[in-house]
Symmetry: C3
Subunit: 354 residues, 3 copies
């Protein structure tokens, strides 16, 4: 496979500095690219050392000025170099379609005879259902869905177009899945939430009559557990991406384009805003409001609501700029304690000698 | 569906203030209930503002005095209002039986021809086994069991009545499951524990010959991993509830009616007492004893045993009342450090001028 | 079953103190062993109280001197007593072969007719494939492989000899699995990594064209999620053992004989050295280098690289010996703060009284 720089520039809405007809045969990281590969440079560190990559072409920021000292290699300038690179990489490496799904076609006939299909199943064109998948009653899926082995789609689930339900994924009854949603292997969507009403020393289960709604363009990582609402919905907003082993409790709302990194846990009824980032192993308590454009550092423990745009770290979470100073002081605490004890003695001596 | 307040009062062992023949057609949260719904109010905040819900009836504490200023809506007084509400909710919303399990009957004939059933399978009445479930040899289950798709029940497993084994759940050989146990999707019961004997620089696997015993009335959340004992048993006591993605290591004992919130991890041979609560992301080291009625705050790291009734927070875990004060001081550490440095200088000046 | 001490000594490369022809009929822990059991004692605590076990024989360190005051019970001296015990235990308790795999034989004919086998499947002798397992196209496995129910082996996967793929395990296309590898139930090997290139407020998926390579003698716990490389490989080195619910991101390298305890999370492109131990719930940031023989304490948060041999605890991680002192001071912070405030006043008084 071979693509010219001209085509690449068109694909990423950029322009070429160099020979637009130069042919590219692959994509690779900056350090390991070869002369017929394209790579990208977004950070100043790489932009300053363009001559050190062997790549035939480099995708750089739109505003990048190709100076006099530049090597002869070609550039493609694009608004978001890394995203542009990702688009080119996807062209060279289209996502693998497992053989068990059959060959993609235009009519919906890749349904394995070993799958269990419930009544009133409605599917768009080009749906593939793998062996041992289980589809409940009254399920509806759009075009181009791929349902991998051992996926279970509960009764009355409605899914949009271009959905990929990974191996072993469970989607509980009545849940709603948007368009272009990918669910990585082993994730659970629509388990009952952890709702237990005390009744003396024991607990009475609170029925979970709600659903999970996953909006368009969401990707859920491997091994997630996302509970349905007690009443109403747990909502994963448009464009949200979750990493592996993430827990989302009942009635949580995650706003559009927010990232939940691996092993994050969000307790019940908390609302996370848009375009926020929760780093790995963050825990957020229930019934809180986390704003838009919030960044929460790794392992932070959030017990209070956070306003838009805040950057928070630590457990309990505090403003990140304070946390940076706090974390330098914590290892000094033993010395600080000693200093205080010494000062105490000195003060006493002064007071006694009055 | 329609239930009178009289019937509801009987169901929850309470009494009616208002018209006992008023009909209720649904359940809903305090804020969104409509005139033919019933809701509940347990906390003073809601009890003081009963007039703000549109619900036709409200379940309140047994001791609640309906004052003169009360609106005309009806009350049901019950010992545990939230639990009473949960019971009424369960009546209006019986748990969904997936179509793939067939229709519940009184004889054990809902076994999918697509399930794999081992030798000497013994089942009580009204058992339903979904497509692609795998039952080992010499398995015994009680009445009303529902075995969902892709569940694997190992050889010689014994389970009680009214057990629900969710999609993709694994129960390893010889494990024991009590009555009224629900295992949410994707959980693993009876994996080998993490037992490795050092042998120079490498490790020799310690065989895991024990089992997991899950007692009556337990619910295990989605994506849990509960290891079997090395020797002997890992025990999940009667009434225990676990949330999602919880890890329980080999030979752990969890006492009756204890709650393990999401992403808790308990290391090997630790004994957790009865009616305790471990909040989200808590980690407990191995070979400890955690008492009865203990509460451990979110993300706490427990490295020492805890006596009955303690409330512990932080990592390392300390008494919660101290933790509350500590966590207010941590963000001040940079200022405290500055103050100490300044005092140091002032002291020195005094001493020199002494 | 009965084994003489002579045979046991040969098995563990040790020697017998006592009657070499004494027969042993089982293994048990120090406290609960009976007269025909063998147990072990490695730590001084147990070595000093050998007379308190009822075991007929005790495996002790090779250098152990059987003193005059010793009881009459027999000893087996071995280089690594716990590992020796594990080997003897494995002889008495060979790992259970589930009935659904059929009886082990010497020819590869235990392939369930209910499994889905892709084209060009190549298998060594004595392979067992359970019902509802899915094997992709061009998969190759060595001798003695056991593929449990609902496992999915992607296209072009190559696996060595003596591999056990647990129930519900997913191995993505092209991944490489070595010899003597065990994957516990529900783990995901080769999911796409969490790679998202910002494109304004949304994200563009970075294709994951790499693989996971699992080397020889690895055991992966239950419910793990190990992502494939973006480019290149995620590598789990020879002899690595992971506990339950561990997350390993794209392009991570875990060195030989390293242990990852439960719920550990390692972010992208980090390299972990050899023979290190990451305790439970540890989080490690991306693009770091963790050395050989490193020990990281439970729940530590690692944001910086760590040199060989270091012992690190806390979040952020600091040298363990400092952490031990820090954690004693943290609960004193409220008192320290009070003392400082008081000193401040005393200083002021002294200064004013000049």
């Amino acid at each position: 496979m071979e693509i010219t720089l001209k085509e690449i520039a068109r694909m990423v809405e950029g322009d070429v500095v160099g020979d637009p007809n130069a042919a590219i045969r692959g994509v690779a990281p900056f350090e390991t690219a070869r002369p017929d590969d394209i790579t990208y440079a977004a950070q100043p560190k790489f932009l300053k050392s363009l001559s050190t990559t062997a790549a035939g072409a480099v995708i750089v920021p739109a505003a990048f000025k190709a100076g006099a000292g530049l090597p002869e290699r070609s550039l493609v300038r694009a608004g978001y170099p890394q995203a542009a690179f990702a688009r080119v990489a996807a062209r060279f490496h289209p996502s693998h379609r497992p053989a068990y799904l059959g060959t993609a076609g235009t009519t919906g006939d890749n349904v394995s005879p070993s799958a269990h299909i419930g009544r009133n199943f409605s599917a768009g064109d080009n749906v593939a259902i793998a062996p041992f998948a289980v589809i409940g009653d009254n399920v509806s899926v759009g075009r181009n869905a791929t349902i991998h082995p051992h996926a279970v789609i509960g009764d009355d689930v409605v899914m949009g177009d271009d959905v990929a339900v990974g191996p072993g994924v469970y989607i509980g009854e009545r849940c709603r899945i948007g368009n272009r949603v990918t669910l990585q292997p082993g994730s659970v969507i629509g388990s009952d939430g952890f709702g237990w009403a005390p009744e003396g020393n024991t607990y009475c289960k609170i029925p979970h009559t709600g659903i999970v709604r996953i909006e368009d363009d969401v990707e859920i990582g491997a091994g997630n557990a996302i509970d349905r609402g007690t009443f109403g919905e747990t909502v994963i907003g448009r464009g949200v991406k979750t990493d592996n082993l993430v827990h989302v409790a009942h009635n949580v709302t995650v706003g559009e384009d927010t990232l939940l990194v691996a092993q994050v846990g969000i307790a019940g009824s908390t609302a996370i805003g848009r375009h926020s980032i929760l780093a790995g192993q963050v825990g957020v308590s229930g019934h809180l409001t986390i704003g838009d454009n919030v960044t929460i550092g790794p392992q932070a423990g959030i017990g209070k609501s956070i306003a838009d745009g805040e950057v928070v770290s630590g457990a309990p979470g505090i403003p990140h700029r304070i946390w940076l100073r706090v974390q330098r002081i914590i290892p000094m605490l033993p010395e600080i304690k000693k200093a205080i004890d010494a000062m105490e003695k000195r003060l006493k001596r002064i007071e006694e000698n009055g």
